[in-house]
Symmetry: C2
Subunit: 394 residues, 2 copies
Amino acid sequence: MTLPRKDLFVLPEGVTYLDGNSLGPLPKTAAARLAQAAEAEWGRMLIRGWNDAGWMAQPARLGDAIGRLIGAPEGTTVVGDTLSIKVYQALAAALELRPDRRVILSDTGNFPTDLYMAEGLIRSLGQGHELRLVAPEAVAEAIDEDVAVLMLTEVDYRTGRRHDMPALLARAHEAGALTIWDLAHSAGAVPVDVTAAEADFAVGCTYKYLNAGPGAPAFIHVAPRHAHVTPALSGWLGHAAPFAFETGYRPAGGAERMRVGTPPVLQMAALEAALEVWEDIDMGEIRARSIGLSERFIAGVERACPDLALASPRDPAQRGSQVSFAHPEGYAIVQALIARGVIGDFRGPDILRFGITPLYLDEGDIDRAVSVLAEVMDGRLWDDPAYRTRRAVT
Amino acid sequence: MTLPRKDLFVLPEGVTYLDGNSLGPLPKTAAARLAQAAEAEWGRMLIRGWNDAGWMAQPARLGDAIGRLIGAPEGTTVVGDTLSIKVYQALAAALELRPDRRVILSDTGNFPTDLYMAEGLIRSLGQGHELRLVAPEAVAEAIDEDVAVLMLTEVDYRTGRRHDMPALLARAHEAGALTIWDLAHSAGAVPVDVTAAEADFAVGCTYKYLNAGPGAPAFIHVAPRHAHVTPALSGWLGHAAPFAFETGYRPAGGAERMRVGTPPVLQMAALEAALEVWEDIDMGEIRARSIGLSERFIAGVERACPDLALASPRDPAQRGSQVSFAHPEGYAIVQALIARGVIGDFRGPDILRFGITPLYLDEGDIDRAVSVLAEVMDGRLWDDPAYRTRRAVT
C-alpha cells in the first residue's frame, strides 16, 4: 500500500476532512504553481504567455491528463467552463445526434444543475423534448425506444449510490439511445473507463476528488464517433482557426470544438498541479482503500450512533466514495461536527455526507470522525440554536 | 492629473506595454490576493470558504463593482463564465423578449465569438432567425422593424472605431428592437453609462482594460426592466434557492439568475484586487489622457513611419482607447517590435494594434514606442524569417 499520500496536501492541524467530495484540499505544489502563473507568466510575459507559457494549449493538455484517469483516448477530452456548461454542450450534441427522438431520461437523484440545464435547453429547442425523471432504481426499465439520451450522474451526490454504468450503457445503446455520464463524483474517486463502457459523452468537475480548487474548470469527453457534431455553444476557441477571425463558425477537430471562450489560466495552473498528483496513483488501490475506510466508518457509526440511519447502499459495489447517513437534525449535527474539526456537509432534507478520500485519509482519521460524531450524538451537542442557523452554503 | 498610476502595476523592466487592450498587466496586489485565496482560504478554510470567505456572494459583489464603472445600478450586473457564454445568455434573453421578430443585427467588425455564439443559438432555436451582418457604418440605417436585437461591440477590436452607442440605442428602441452591447473594449477604457443610454443588456470581459488576468471571468448587465426573463443557461447558481436542491428550475431575482455554475474563486480573487484599483480613478481623466496619448502616438508614427496607414478613425471621438495601423507586413513588424520590448499585437489581415492605457502609460512610453517602431520600419528590421513564423496566438 502506498496510500495515503498526506504529504502531498495541505491538511490543517486539528481538522479531519471528510468533504473532499465537495472541495478537495490544496495540493502542496498548487500555491507555488499559482504564484508562478501570476508572477512569472502573467506578470512578466504579459500577453506573450499565451504562446510562451503554453496557455493556449493547456485545455487540451490537461484534458488528456484527465482522460487518462477515465479511460479516454488522447484528443477526446477538453477542459473549460463549468460543469453546468459542459452538461449543456453534451446534451445539445446528443439531441442533435438523435433528431427523431424527444425524451431525455434522467433520475430524481441527479444533481439539480444537470436537470436545470436540460430544462433550459428544452425551452430553447422548442421541439417538444421531455425531461423524464424516474427513481434511480427505475432507470433501467425506463429506457425505451423514445429515449434520445440517457443523462445520469454515475454516483449520487446525496446517497453515494453508484449506477451500474456498463449495464445501463449497454441497455441504452440497445434501445438506440445515447448516454451522458456526469462523473463529478467519479473521476478520481472510482475507476472509470469511458472507452470500455462505450460512453458517448462524459462530463465532470475537477474541484472534488481531483483537488483543483474552488471553481476549478470542468471537463468534457466526446467519443471519437460523435466528434463531428456541431457545438451549440460555438465559441471562438472551439473554432478551427481562432486567430483567423473569420465571421463564420468552423469547428475545430475532435473534442477541441467543445472549447468555448478564453480559458481561466490561473485556475488551469492550480488544476495542472492537482493533476500531477495522480501520475503516481493507482485507481485500483484508491478503490480498495475507499471501500476499506468506508466499511470501517459505517461499522463505527452504526455501533456508536444508533440514531443515524445509513442512507448509502450497504453493498460497497453499489457505492461511490462517500457515505451518507440520515437524521432529521442532520444540518445541526453537521454544524456541531464542523465546530469540532470534523468536516462533512449536509444535503436537504436530512442527509449528512462524508467523503472518503484515501489519497489523504487513513484509519486514524476515520476513527477520529466516528468518535467525535459519537460525542456529538451522545451528548446531543447539536442541540444548540447556533447550529440551526442555515448559512448560504450547506 | 493623478495619472498614470504605474505604482499599482508590475511593469517589467525594458517593456513598453501597448497590449493592455488584450491582457492587462498584473496589479501589484493581485498576486498576494491570489496567494491568500489559495493558502488562507482554500488551504485552511477548505469547504468553509464558501461561507466564511464570502465566495458565494462574490460574483454579485464584484458585478456591482463593475456596475459602478459602466453606470449600472446595484444588483443588475453579475460576474462569471466567459464573455462568449455571457453573449449567449444575453442574446437568448433578448430573442425571448421579442418573440415576433427574427433578425439579429450585427456588424462585420464584431468580435467573431459574438457572431459564432449567435450562429449556435440560431441553430438551437431552429425558428428561422437570421444573423444579419452589415458594415459598421451601415448599422444605423439597417435598423428596421424586423430587427429583434441589435448586437454590437461598442469599440471595434481591430480598428478601435467606436460606435455611437446612445444614438444607435435610441434608433433601435424607436424600431422596437432590443440591444446588446459588448463592452470588452469599453469597460475601463472609455466612460460608459448603460443606464443613461438605456442599454438592455451589456456584457464584457475583465482581462483587458480591467486587468484581472488571463481568462478572468466575464460580466453581464441586465436592465431591471428585463430581469424577469427565463435564462437559457439555467444553472443551479442562478436558482432562487441553490441549496434547496429542487429538481425544477426557479430563477433567482435580478441579474443573479444569469449565474450558471460554480464561480472560479481563484480568478475572482485576482479580479477583486484588480477592481480595487478603480476606486480612485476618474473615468473622465482616463478618457482625456487616452485621447492625448493616442493623438501623440498617431502624430509620432505618421511623422516617422510613412509606410504605416492609420486604420483607426482620425477623430478621437470616434475611437475607443486603441490605435491601429495597417501594413501588409504587419505580423512581422509586430514580432520585431516585441523582440525589442515594445508589445502590441496583430490582427489579420494587416492590422497592428496598440492599446493606449493611461492607467500605466505616459508620454515617455508613447515616445519610446514611436522611436522603436521608426527604427524597425527605417531599417526594415521586420524583414527576418524569424518574424514571419506565425504562432498560435497572434
